[in-house]
């Protein structure tokens, strides 16, 4: 019989079809992660291009880095703020838009539109609006309030970055929540209403449990996305004032490309990677506890 049976041909086709994607992940993701691990065990001299093996020195340096605690605090504040506001606002808008009324599509378009605006353009405009003599203080001044210099104070700078990031990206969560809300069977609502349940109880007991898988997934995506927000910080505050908005990603970039600390930068990058991995795994485990699955 012929060697090339349908089965054999199928197996070969499978490998050929996945080859470009697999190769891409190997060369552009896995090999670089391996290299980053190796870099974190080395110290580099930028001028001579020489690298020397220093073992755990870079890792020990994490403990004695006087800036790291501020960076981690900024990272937690930024990611936490973005996730809470993003999920809360996304859910609120989705619930409001989920009712049938004229103009629902129009509003959906408005809320989603910042998603397609490039991060840098969006952030530039916010920077323009938030400066001392910018549009926001102009508006506040018109009603007799003297606004702060938003980007120059530690507290308001963080609030500004978080809000500009949330407004830009909440449209994605809104759409995912809308799709989930539309999947809730209307019989359940009718049954609850016949039983005399109030809207708030219906939302807490029926809607929320049924869309919880989506809430979980968007939470993961949003946290991981927030941990990777680079352009927003770079363009709006440059990590300042002082270190108040220097999140981990930005610190990695500074160490690696501005201060040329390739080894230490790679160590920080791996710390970022471990955060992302731990969060993803944690959420995955939690899923079993509280996510309701329809039969």
């Amino acid at each position: 019989m012929a060697y090339w049976t349908t089965r054999r041909r199928d197996v070969l086709t499978g490998y050929v079809f996945i080859a470009p994607q697999l190769l891409g992940v190997l060369v552009f993701v896995l090999v670089p992660v391996g290299m980053a691990i190796w870099y974190s065990l080395n110290k580099w001299n930028v001028f001579t291009g020489r690298q020397t093996f220093v073992g755990g020195d870079n890792w020990a340096a994490l403990a004695s880095d006087p800036q790291l605690s501020s960076v981690l605090l900024a990272t937690v504040l930024f990611s936490g703020g973005v996730v809470v506001l993003n999920i809360g606002l996304g859910l609120l808008i989705a619930v409001l838009l989920n009712r049938r009324f004229r103009g629902a599509t129009f509003f959906r378009t408005l809320f989603f539109s910042p998603v397609v605006v490039s991060v840098v353009a969006w952030t530039l405009v916010w920077g323009f609006l938030l400066q001392d003599n910018g549009g926001i203080n102009g508006l506040l001044g018109a009603v007799g309030i003297e606004g702060p210099n938003w980007l120059q104070h530690g507290d308001t700078a963080m609030v500004s970055v978080v809000i500009s990031q949330v407004v830009r990206s909440v449209g994605v969560n809104m759409v995912l929540f809308l799709a989930a809300l539309q999947g809730v069977p209307s019989e359940l609502y009718e049954a609850a209403r016949i039983d005399g349940a109030r809207s708030r109880a219906i939302f807490a007991r029926i809607t929320l449990p049924l869309i919880s898988p989506t809430v979980l997934l968007t939470a993961i995506i949003t946290i991981v996305g927030a941990l990777q927000s680079f352009a927003q910080i770079a363009v709006l505050t440059g990590g300042g004032p002082e270190l108040s908005t220097t999140v981990l990603v930005y610190y990695v970039f500074q160490q690696a490309f501005e201060f040329n600390n390739i080894g230490y930068g790679s160590t920080l990058a791996l710390m970022l990677l471990s955060f992302v991995m731990v969060l993803t795994l944690l959420q995955w485990q939690l899923r079993k506890r509280w996510v309701f699955h329809e039969q």
Binding site: Q21, L124, V125, L176, V249
Partner: protein, 279 residues
Amino acid sequence: MSSRRSLLRRALLVAALAVLAIPFVVPTVWMIAASVKPLPEIFKSPPSLLTDHPTFAAYGEAFSFQPFARQYVNSLYIAVLVTMITLLVSSLAGYAFARIKFPGANALFLVVLTGLLVPSEVTIVPLFQLFKQAGMINTHWPLILVTSLAAPCVLATFIMRQFFIALPAELEEAGRLDGLGRPGIWWRICLPLARPALSAVAILTFLASWNLYLEPTVYLTSPELFTLPQALTRFTDAYGGEMWNTQLAAATMTVLPVLIVFVVAQRHFVEGLAHSGLK
């Protein structure tokens, strides 16, 4: 009585949504409005949206200050190329992972998925070294290769797999009876059916490439090779002062085409995303 109440409730709903929408709409409107104002008027207090002396001078300046037309072409051709490669690579891999049984398929799929887990900031230092050794720094190759084969493509492969899994097996059997091999089934039967998934992938990939900022900043040093997001941050005068109206004009030109396409095709955007398997 009850219809009046429901009318009132609807009015309240629309009012609440309109207030909520302000921060979503004002920045973009402001950007466009300020780009046609003379510079001194940009910081007028109280601020107004309209000007008595509209001018498009800042638009011209954007082109004379930097090779902006060139940067535009760079962004456009890179995004189109990246989108085409991603569509091909992800539909092949997504199809194979969904429909073909081959040893190690599950394990290899998990390996591919790790591409979604690793932030690009983690790999950028080693990638910089790799591309330096390959002589590709200050070329567009890193932007094209990494975007079309790493994280955005992995997301695309995942979306395509989710879509192909749901296709009924009878379709493929019919194709087989017609004498089609695997590549024929993929190309003639499955891809035409996958248009919703393909358009979701195309939109997501195009935006990912069009908006890329970290990678161009790291890999490119010559202004004539810059992409738009990177170029937008370079509008400062000789003293490092911001050229706000020029910058806003350039930003408007960067944003407007995508925004117009979005408004026209918003149904595709939103539904593509909602059904992209992210649920």
